[in-house]
């Protein structure tokens, strides 16, 4: 059924179609509308049986989900940014215990300085936590990915994060095709846990594992993710067959067939990139876009296959490993091992800074001309940066950076237009 609704609402309805049995809710922008929507569906009785629990923190949210999942209930929660970090310990625990919890991460920057707008720092900070991380390009994909995530996670006994850009997707009203309950039921089997807390068959879950077996446990988690590399495209294909649209999968490329330059990105920015690529193509530039939809497991082979024939790769990142550069770039570079490509990392859109087609086109043209710095910062205001560096060089007690910068740029608090 076609609907013109907010992304968060779309996700809420999609999650509800998956018949979660326990939902843990804790507010944090820009995720809040999702659990609000679910809360309403549970309270109204549309989603039942389901326990909707207003927990006291994200740490508790994940912990309640762990308990519920271990006891055999399909469990869901959503968070973002600081919330994701606050539950970090439990995130690792959920994956370590192999509990197929599904969580939406409405991607948002991490403070300080506190910032509620979109980038990918939060998800990226948890890239090694053992969860599967799927990135949605659109609201339609976001809602579709949740349906796939439960299937995937429960098959493999692994938790899945569905990452969607905060505000850009969560708060955008778009037309989506909402599947019918019967269709979802046909696609997603009931949860059959690999292990369950049940008095009829008692087990101890969560043993202390010493040096004698810890590496094996870790390797087995990796082996699971390797299996996911096979299952993710299969599930996406099955989904496409049943629902008539392509959502998910490991990677999806756009106009890459003869591309000399390929831009790699995750999430909603792929849409902007496609428009930019179209414009550049109109100018005769052989350029394409490779969207990564499964960041963990990272599809090394799929990425390599697409990039095989290109001359250069530009990784557009909404995350930043301070002191190094790109986060995704590092992984891409691994995929390129042995291939002689010019590689560029473009850090863009941190803390919600708008990524415009104009800036993208300018940056990509520099890359095509191989004039781009290997590590570039799109739309960085060098004036502000240099003034602050000078201040700090001159004065030990130069004051808080964020406030200094805001003072420099006056009333315009950010470059969000």
């Amino acid at each position: 059924m076609q609907k013109q609704i907010e992304g968060s609402r779309a996700v809420a309805e999609s999650v509800a179609l998956c018949r979660p049995e326990v939902i843990c809710a804790y507010p944090i922008s820009p995720q809040t509308h999702i659990v609000e929507g679910l809360g309403e569906l549970v309270k109204s009785g549309e989603l039942k049986p389901c326990e909707f629990i207003n927990v006291e923190s994200e740490f508790a949210a994940m912990s309640v989900a762990i308990g519920a999942s271990a006891a055999g209930a399909r469990s869901y929660t959503a968070t973002a940014s600081q919330g994701l970090l606050f539950m970090a310990e439990a995130i690792y625990n959920a994956s370590g215990l192999g509990l197929p919890i599904v969580m939406t991460v409405a991607n948002r920057a991490i403070g300080a300085p506190i910032n509620i707008w979109n980038d990918h720092s939060d998800s990226m900070s948890q890239r090694d936590c053992g969860w599967i991380q799927l990135f949605a390009e659109s609201n339609q994909e976001a809602l579709d990915l949740h349906i796939q995530a439960f299937k995937l996670g429960e098959e493999l006994s692994m938790p899945v994060m569905v990452c969607m850009d905060g505000f850009i997707l969560t708060h955008a009203y778009e037309r989506v095709d909402m599947p019918a309950q019967a269709e979802v039921d046909a696609f997603l089997p009931t949860y059959e846990p690999r292990q369950v807390l049940d008095p009829a068959d008692p087990v101890s879950i969560g043993a202390m594992v010493g040096p004698e077996a810890f590496m094996e446990v870790r390797y087995l988690a990796h082996a699971k993710q390797t299996m996911a590399l096979e299952r993710i495209p299969q599930i996406a294909a099955e989904f496409a067959q049943r629902f008539g649209r392509n959502s998910g999968g490991l990677v999806r490329d756009y106009r890459c067939e003869d591309a000399e330059t390929i831009v790699i990105a995750l999430g909603s920015v792929i849409g902007t990139l496609k428009d930019t690529v179209d414009e550049l193509r109109n100018d005769g530039v052989k350029i394409g876009v490779l969207g990564i939809h499964s960041f963990r497991p990272f599809p090394l082979a799929a990425v390599r296959a697409v990039l095989q024939g290109a001359k250069r790769v530009v990784v557009l990142e909404k995350s930043f490993s301070v002191g190094l550069g790109g986060v995704v770039s590092t992984d891409v570079r691994l995929a390129l091992s042995g291939l002689q490509l010019n590689g560029y990392t473009v850090i863009a859109g941190l803390g919600g800074r708008a990524i415009t087609k104009a800036s993208l086109a300018r940056t990509l043209r520099d890359a095509i001309a191989d004039k781009l710095q290997p590590l570039a910062f799109m739309d960085l205001d060098w004036g502000i940066v240099n003034r602050q560096l000078a201040r700090e060089a001159a004065t030990r007690r130069s004051g808080p950076i964020a406030e200094n910068l805001l003072r420099d740029i006056g009333t315009v608090a950010s470059k969000v237009h």
């Binding site: 923190s57 740490f59 508790a60 519920a68």
Partner: protein
């Protein structure tokens, strides 16, 4: 004389009593007790927590006819019971993290509710660190939502698993690795620490109780009562730690008994935020009798003793006695 004979040689102080009818006997005296925490665990000799855990969980197992699931915080109890490849637990049990046992309990309870398995009950358990400190947020949340979980705190008054560091349950004056017996005010600071049973009561949850490993029948009765109630329940059990307290391994129960008999550890029950029952002191003793056998209080005694600190600890016991009415009226001061 037609009055029934109520006196049974050892009353109900011993674990069992051949003179009692079987239904009046303790869970622990039974051949059929579940031994929820099985032999072979790696707890230290004379571990109060191992004992308290078996007492409490066995009682809960009987009360629920074995339909019980446990969530366990990180800590001694978890480490000594479940080192791969062996576990001592005989009921479905999960360890997640140090600070989230209450929340995991909530999740399990929610799962059971949603699946319509209302006969399956949930306990969450942890030490004092996992309860009064790091797990406190989740605990309070579980209380506040009145989730159907019995939370059991095994209080041995410090972080024993990490090597005896101070927790918010560490009593004033006690030496720990982070409150050393040095300086002008050796040991844990006076005027600090929190009373989680009272805080639990402030949540107005259906049931709050304290107990010790020295009084099995009281403990079992409380667990049984707790399992007859739905909603959030809290049981705080004092479990002496021979290693952390610097006490002889055979004195575990004796020390728990003395903690109660001095008034330092009030044993009571509360429902809906109101104290409903208090276990009276049977033979009152000065705090010194309790403190002396413990090396963690050694600096209070001897040539360089701390009379003022001793008086402070005694004052605390006296306050408890008054506050909770721990003495019968005729013997009260």
């Amino acid at each position: 004389m037609t009055a029934p004979i109520k006196f049974y040689q050892t009353g109900t102080f011993t674990v069992g009593n051949r003179l009692l009818s079987p239904e009046q006997r303790s869970v622990q005296s039974s051949l059929e007790r579940s031994n929820s925490l099985n032999s072979g665990h790696r707890a230290c000799q004379g571990c109060g927590e191992a004992l308290g855990a078996r007492y409490a969980v066995d009682a809960a197992m009987r009360a629920t006819q074995g339909q019980l699931i446990a969530a366990n915080a990180t800590g001694c109890l978890e480490v000594f019971s479940t080192p791969y490849p062996e576990t001592s637990w005989q009921l479905p049990w999960i360890h997640s993290l140090f600070g989230n046992a209450a929340a995991v309990g909530t999740g399990i309870a929610a799962a059971m509710k949603v699946k319509g398995r209302n006969n399956v009950r949930v306990i969450a358990q942890g030490g004092d660190g996992g309860t009064t400190d790091i797990g406190f947020g989740c605990l309070s949340g579980m209380f506040e939502r009145n989730d159907d979980v019995l939370y059991i705190c095994y209080d041995n008054e410090a972080y024993m698993n990490t090597g005896v560091q101070r927790s918010s349950a560490t009593p004033a004056g006690a030496r720990t690795a982070t409150t050393m017996a040095v300086g002008a005010e050796p040991g844990a600071q006076f005027g600090q620490g929190k009373n989680v049973p009272l805080i639990a009561m402030a949540h107005e949850i259906p049931y709050v109780a304290t107990a010790t490993v020295a009084d099995l029948h009281d403990l079992e009765t409380k667990v049984e009562h707790a399992m007859s109630i739905r909603g959030a329940r809290y049981l705080h059990i004092l479990v002496p730690c021979p290693l952390g307290w610097g006490a002889a391994s055979q004195d575990t129960i004796k020390l728990a008994r003395l903690a109660r008999e001095t008034g330092l550890f009030p044993v009571f029950e509360a429902e809906g935020g109101e104290v409903t029952a208090v276990t009276k002191i049977r033979r009152r003793v000065p705090v010194e009798e309790y403190l002396r056998p413990q090396k963690r209080f050694a600096h209070l005694f001897g040539a360089k003793g701390q009379q003022q600190m001793l008086a402070g600890i005694q004052a605390r016991a006296d306050r408890n006695i008054k506050r909770f009415g721990l003495l019968d009226v005729e013997t009260a001061e």
